[in-house]
Structures are given as C-alpha cells and as structure tokens.
Symmetry: C2
Subunit: 355 residues, 2 copies
Amino acid sequence: MSRILTNEIDLETVEKSRINDVDFDNIDFGREFTDHMFSCDFVDGEWQTPKIMPYQALTLDPSARVFHYGQAVFEGMKAFKDDQDEVWLFRPEDNFNRINISAARLAIPEFPKDYFLNGLKTLIQLDKAWVKKGDGNALYIRPFVIATEPAISAAPANEYKFMIICSPVKAYYKGRLSVLFAEKFSRSADGGVGFAKAAGNYAAQFYPTNLANKKGFQQIIWTDANTHEYLEEAGTMNIFFRINNTLVTAPTSDRILDGITRKSVIQLAKDNNIDVEIRRVSVKEIKEAAMDGSLKEIFGSGTAAVISPISAFEHAGDVFEIPDLEDSYSTFFKRKLMDIQYNKSDDQHGWRYKV
Amino acid sequence: MSRILTNEIDLETVEKSRINDVDFDNIDFGREFTDHMFSCDFVDGEWQTPKIMPYQALTLDPSARVFHYGQAVFEGMKAFKDDQDEVWLFRPEDNFNRINISAARLAIPEFPKDYFLNGLKTLIQLDKAWVKKGDGNALYIRPFVIATEPAISAAPANEYKFMIICSPVKAYYKGRLSVLFAEKFSRSADGGVGFAKAAGNYAAQFYPTNLANKKGFQQIIWTDANTHEYLEEAGTMNIFFRINNTLVTAPTSDRILDGITRKSVIQLAKDNNIDVEIRRVSVKEIKEAAMDGSLKEIFGSGTAAVISPISAFEHAGDVFEIPDLEDSYSTFFKRKLMDIQYNKSDDQHGWRYKV
Ligand SMILES: Cc1ncc(COP(=O)(O)O)c(C=O)c1O
Ligand SMILES: Cc1ncc(COP(=O)(O)O)c(C=O)c1O
C-alpha cells in the first residue's frame, strides 16, 4: 500500500491486485469491480482533494440524505483496449458535461472538470489490466454523486461524495429484444427530471418493467405521460426507427436523456448519407408502418449495449414482429461505433480520448 | 451492552445513553437521533430477524443499488408523550400500509406488519426518555427501506435494509408560509410515482424550491404536469383551501400522496359540520376567490408541521396576500389534531395507538 500525490490526487494503491480471482469469461454486468476507486468529498462549500484508494465499502450515517430523498446522479461510460494495448474512452467530456447538468437539476454542486478527467485517467491507468482486449470487452465506468449529509430535513444536502467505480464487462449478445409501448405508466413529465441521470428515475421504472417482463417483454418504450401517443425512449436507451431508409428518432427534451450514443448515431448517419429525421414519432405512425411494411427496424442506443436491435413490439394488445434484415442499420452503426471505440478506424470527429 | 431476544427482535442496547449530551431546547429538525435504531435485512428472498441496536453508521458497498437507482422509500410519523408520561403514536397502521404501497411501486418486497409494529413499539419504549412532554414536542420517526445489493445493473435489487431511526423534534412556529404556484416545473405525472413516498420524488423538488426561495417563497404548490392549471400538493404537505366556509382539497391520485393528516382533517371537518369538497381546484378559481374575498385560508397538512397556514401565494407574477383570520380553520384543526395526539381529548376514531 503506497500513498502518493499525483496531479492533486491523493493516491493509495492496493498491496495485491484481486484480478487473478476474477473469471473474466463469466462475469455478470456490474457485479465485479476493479482494485481501485475514486472518491472526492464536498464539505464546507467545496470539493476537497480527490482520492484514489482500494475499492472498499462506504460508511454512512443512516440519516445520510441519499437514503431518504434520492439526491443522487450518475453517469455510465466505457473504456476500450485496442490491439496495441492502448486504452481509450469515448466522448468523456460529454459525460462530464451531462453529470453536471444532472447535478444542477438535483441541486447538487458542480464537479470540477480537471478533477473528473484527471481522476478518470489516473484510475483507469492504475486498473488498466482490468480492461480486456477483444470486441465487446470493455471497462464499464460509473461516476456518481450522492448526498451524504447526516440530516433528514427535506432540503438539498451540504455534503456530497463524488465517486468513480469501474466494472469489467464482456461482450454480450442477448439477441434482439421485444418491447412494450407504454400505455399507462410513465417515466417522466415536462418540468420534471427525465432529462437528468437522476437515481430516482430508474427505480421508478422497475415495477412497470417487471410487469412487462411477466408478459414476455424485456423492456418498455416510454411514451409521453400526457397522451401516451408519442414514443420517447427506453429505460437506458434512446430509440431509433427506420422507416424505409430514413432514420427517425424523438427530439431530446425535459423528458428524454440526451444520449451520447444517440447523438453519435445521428452524426454517423449524416456522415454516411443516411437521412435522419429528429421529430415526434407517434405510436400510430409506427403501427401503420409495421402494417404496410415500411417499418424496417427499431433499435435502441446506449453505452451499455451500444446498439440493441428490437424484434417485436406490443401496443394495445397488438403484437408486431419486425423481420431480421440482412444489411441492417443497427449492425452498420454498431460496427461503425465499435471501430471508433476500439481504435480500428478513423476518428473524424475526435470522439476517442486516450487514457 | 446487553443482547436479548424480545418478540423475535434481536436486541442490543447501549451501555450509556447519549441523551444528556443533547440540548433539547436547541435542536434542528432531523439532525439528532436517539440511542437506538431498528434494522432488518432482506436476503435470500426473505426478511431476516429484525434487530434493534445502538444508533450507528451503515457500511455499504459503493455499488449498493440505492446509490445508483434511488430504489428507496420512507415514512414519516411521530410519537407524543402525554401528561401521564404515556407515549402515543398517531394512526401508525396507515404509515405501515403506505410504506408497503410505496414499496410495491418501487419493486421493493413488502415488509411484515408485526415486524413493523413490534419494532416500532420496542424501539420507542427503549428510547422513551427522548420523547419530551409539551405541546409540539415529539419524536419524529423515520422508517425507510433501501436497496443494498452490491451490483449496478438497472433492475430491482435482491437485497434490502428496512430501518427505523428516531429524532426528537420540538415545537416550531415558523409563522405563516408564502408559496409559489408551479407554472413550469412539475413534481409527478400520471402513471408515475408521485403517490409513493419514493426517495427520488423529493430530490427532484430541491432545485425548483431553491429558485422559489430566491424569489422569497418558502415552498411550491405543485400543479398538474400537463396543464399547470390544477393545484395538487406541496413538497411534504397536502393542501386545503377554505372558500367562504367550505374546505376544498384535491382528490388523491397517481400523482398525489394520500396524506394521513389530510384524511384526518377531512374526517374532523365532517365531525364538526364543516363542508368539505374533494375535487379538482384550479389556479383560476383560487385567484378569483382571492380577488373577490371568498378565499379565507390556505393551509398545508402533514406530519412534520401538522397544519401550516399560508399567508400569500404567487402565480404568473400576481401576488395575493391572505389576511390572518381570528378563528381560522387552520388553528381549529391543529388544536383538534394535537389534542388527540397528546391524549387530551376523546379519540372517537381510534387514531391513538399506545406504545
Ligand atoms: C434514460 C436513458 N436514456 C438513454 C441512455 C443512453 O445514453 P448514452 O448513449 O449516453 O449511454 C441512457 C443510458 O445512459 C439512459 O439512462
Ligand atoms: C408529498 C407529500 N405530501 C403530503 C404529505 C403529508 O402526509 P402525512 O400527512 O401523512 O404526513 C407528505 C409527508 O408525509 C408528503 O411527503
């Protein structure tokens, strides 16, 4: 265990890595964590010196505000290892910007950019051996902020903890998903926190998703809370529809997360002369397009699965199957994105970020 | 420190109480906690033997699901001491029912009723000295459940902790409140979790409430997320309007918490021949009533403040002052409720519950 200061980070390393205890061929998503974690406390009105230390349990008072009022936000990002053993992040500044947008909406103080990027780089360098090569293998990175102040008054906390933990993930091919279009439950409303990666947004989806699972659907595509006529996004993915050869996706709003994979897909579509329409998409339009055959694909976009093709959807008792396409957009975009992420292709837009 | 089993509770008591360190005349809401706490873990598909132990910090993995997905619900209740040193709860079975309603919506397993009531009684008996006599003094009781499973997949946890912590509170006379009617931000939507005491509902209100505070208003009265035309409830209180001599309050729904104080006020109004209308209340109606003088009072109802009279409201730049009334309903109901709570009057409906 050594303790040194690097770039204003107080660094304490493990004596012995746990990496040999891990069966990398059999890891469930988000259960295994690397040797180290990043932690930075907000007290007395400022973020203190960040620390990197052995991954370990937290000690919190039972009155810590995160337990009672859900004052917490997070991010999800990945690091990839290329054939030369270099490690890359994908658009990390967008995650940084987004965690502060989420934080502002939850009345959490902004986190400094250099703390974030330095912390991320130092942490991943240290745990570089945990990033495995090979298509689909990656290090899933979870920055998050929690309100730690021990006082249960219903008001923003004066104390927080910003942390980064990392979890190795392997390629997962779950096949195509079948989904339910929401008819009754809703995920977010105008004027609410749907656009933020606020902790409470996720727990709120568990029960409706359990019901969908029982009916044989893996996920829900949320519709607008007012009318349930317009398709918005899934629980952890933005959604694209391919109608003939045009890609259609809902505009981001108060209610919809501004996904980094979503905006990358939109850019790649433009780069590759695929028409993209960013506009409201009604359930009616998609059902009609499924019936007349113009609906060619539906897929989700998000950091965890990159691109998730959807094979069927249900709405008001009607089930529609979407035939599998030989040269699908979903395969095309997944390949394009992964080639950039794993440093196998040009990076025209400067999305790769060397660790 | 003694360890005994009582009524299936594993009991570990403090060696020495901290009570003499506490200045009961100067306590902020929710910062001081009693000697003991109740804790019960859900693992392997069931709630384990409950424990009462010295109040102490929790140790949780940084990947515990509550930190990431806000899978947490809570309750708020109070214990009161009467002149004969007996301690009473107020409608605790309603809190029990409600925490399980909240839990179901958040995909958290139901908690057993006898664990809840036995736990509550044993804990409060043990920390009885912390319940102070005198109007307004009480023990604020916070049952809560958090998802503890150390795995960051976005799905309901398999492990939880149910806890009860207690905090002595004193009478607080904050005077009348001025409030803002929400025009843009929203608290909940149909099909969402607004009716549940879900942790994330509270953090979502902090930022809009900060903005209201900056404009000189202490709280927000939320309106419906679709049109912002109908008044719903405040952050931790249901809202009543007195128009001439009729009491009006919004019906509970998907979006509104079924407050125990609210339903007690409605019952007491009926008992005392005060007309109550449970119906939608529009902003327009209340502004007109304020202008023509028929709006006599607005007040909030909730466990923390019992009844909070409101002195002014703002909407769309219009500010309305509500003159203070000599024989207000708010004073009347507060007195009636407190007389029942402190065992000073008959308890016609069986609301008192002896500890
Ligand atoms: C609600 C929601 N929508 C969409 C996404 C996809 O966003 P990104 O592509 O940035 O991972 C996520 C996951 O981050 C999410 O939580
Ligand atoms: C959103 C909300 N509304 C209303 C109330 C009032 O409910 P009760 O009277 O049961 O305390 C509370 C507080 O518990 C609350 O959190």
